[in-house]
């Protein structure tokens, strides 16, 4: 009987610790919201830092994680390493990460990547006038979409995420198997 009470007291203490932790920065979650109806992903053709062109249509047949971000955006910085880990895990399969920088230049992105402490090996593209983000209806940064192999937007995440979380990986694998 006393053990039950001790367990309850410990439970209370843990609850308080959890509440204290919640008052820190928002934790990066893993849930992606499924769109009620898949929508055709707006096409685009953008350049990377070396001037190489990338078009969304080139990735038909692959699952695309499309991330809208900027260097000044703290959650964008926080989620980038998880995107790299995800890219490393699935890069030899039907999957690609495309990170669309908003309204910045090569120098700013170059400095950001240097400071990040993680080599980003997926394509970083420049949406210099934010026209692509407007086409996708992006309201704030970061916002990320999962596009299926047929070019339809299937999932969305507003705010930072841990993209290599097993639940996200499961959703990507499901899309790859369709």
């Amino acid at each position: 009987m006393p053990f039950k009470f001790i367990a309850i007291i410990l439970g209370c203490l843990l609850m308080f610790s959890a509440q204290a932790a919640e008052r820190q920065q928002p934790k990066l979650g893993y849930q992606l919201t499924a769109l009620p109806e898949p929508a055709t992903a707006p096409g685009f053709s953008l350049e990377d830092i070396d001037g190489k062109k990338f078009s969304l249509k080139d990735y038909r047949g692959k699952v695309v994680l499309l991330n809208f971000w900027a260097t000044w955006c703290p959650p964008c910085r926080r989620e980038m390493p998880s995107m790299e880990r995800l890219h490393q895990k699935f890069k030899n399969r039907d999957f690609v990460v495309l990170a669309l920088n908003q309204m910045e230049d090569g120098d700013q992105v170059f400095t950001f990547v240097g400071d990040l402490g993680v080599d980003l090996t997926f394509p970083i593209l420049f949406d210099k006038d934010s026209s692509v983000s407007r086409a996708y209806g992006v309201m704030g940064l970061p916002t990320t979409y999962l596009i299926d192999k047929k070019g339809n937007v299937r999932f969305r995440a507003i705010g930072g995420r841990e993209f290599d979380h097993p639940e996200v990986e499961k959703q990507i694998l499901q899309l790859m198997q369709e």
């Binding site: 009470f5 309204m103 704030g140 940064l141």
Partner: protein, 188 residues
């Protein structure tokens, strides 16, 4: 004797639970020891909001970095600017509209919070294409979604005010209120 101990323990547990319940709608104010700036955090009914005082020099630096004209930088820095983080903490869809948010001055007069769309329209008119940093004017949040950006209040920097915000969860509109807020000082 054991019965007495259990009674005391039960009282402690009840107090723990009551404390937890009371915290649900409580606003927590934290002070940054280094800068002296304040942060208000309120969590209630599936929605959390955090408002962080930003000093005018920080605001100037942000917009100067984005190549805003000097007079526009000064105009924005003249507002009472907060870094804001809003979060869907529920397990349902949630939506918000900054156009429904208000602040109330010391005389009880209520004003609408300026929206990002209003700012962008003003920036567009003076040829500024930049469209980020401000809290989006509305959002439909899925589970786990959150957003951050600046919230601007036009009030005398030394005047206190109450902040009223709303969100819709499962078709029901909710309202929260943070009383006695203040702007960051003009200079630290």
């Amino acid at each position: 004797m054991p019965t007495k101990i259990y009674t005391h323990l039960l009282k402690i547990i009840c107090l723990c639970l009551l404390y937890t319940q009371a915290q649900a709608a409580e606003t927590i104010i934290q002070k940054n020891d280094a800068s002296g700036l304040l942060t208000w955090t309120s969590k209630d009914d599936g929605f959390s909001i955090e408002l962080i005082q930003l000093n005018p020099d920080f605001v100037r630096a942000v917009y100067a970095k984005h190549d805003f004209p000097a007079d526009e930088v000064e105009r924005i820095a003249g507002y009472c600017v907060f870094g804001s983080i809003i979060q869907n903490t529920s397990q349902q869809q949630l939506s918000y509209r900054v156009a429904d948010w208000r602040y109330v001055d010391k005389n009880g007069k209520s004003y609408p919070v300026k929206t990002k769309a209003q700012w962008l329209e003003e920036w567009r008119k003076v040829g500024i294409p930049f469209a980020w940093t401000l809290l989006p004017e509305s959002g439909d949040f899925g589970i786990g979604d959150w957003q951050q950006g600046f919230t601007t209040i036009q009030i005398d920097r030394n005047e206190k005010f109450d902040f009223i915000y709303t969100w819709t969860l499962d078709g029901k509109k909710h309202q929260g209120r943070i009383d006695n807020m203040s702007c960051a000082p003009a200079a630290l």
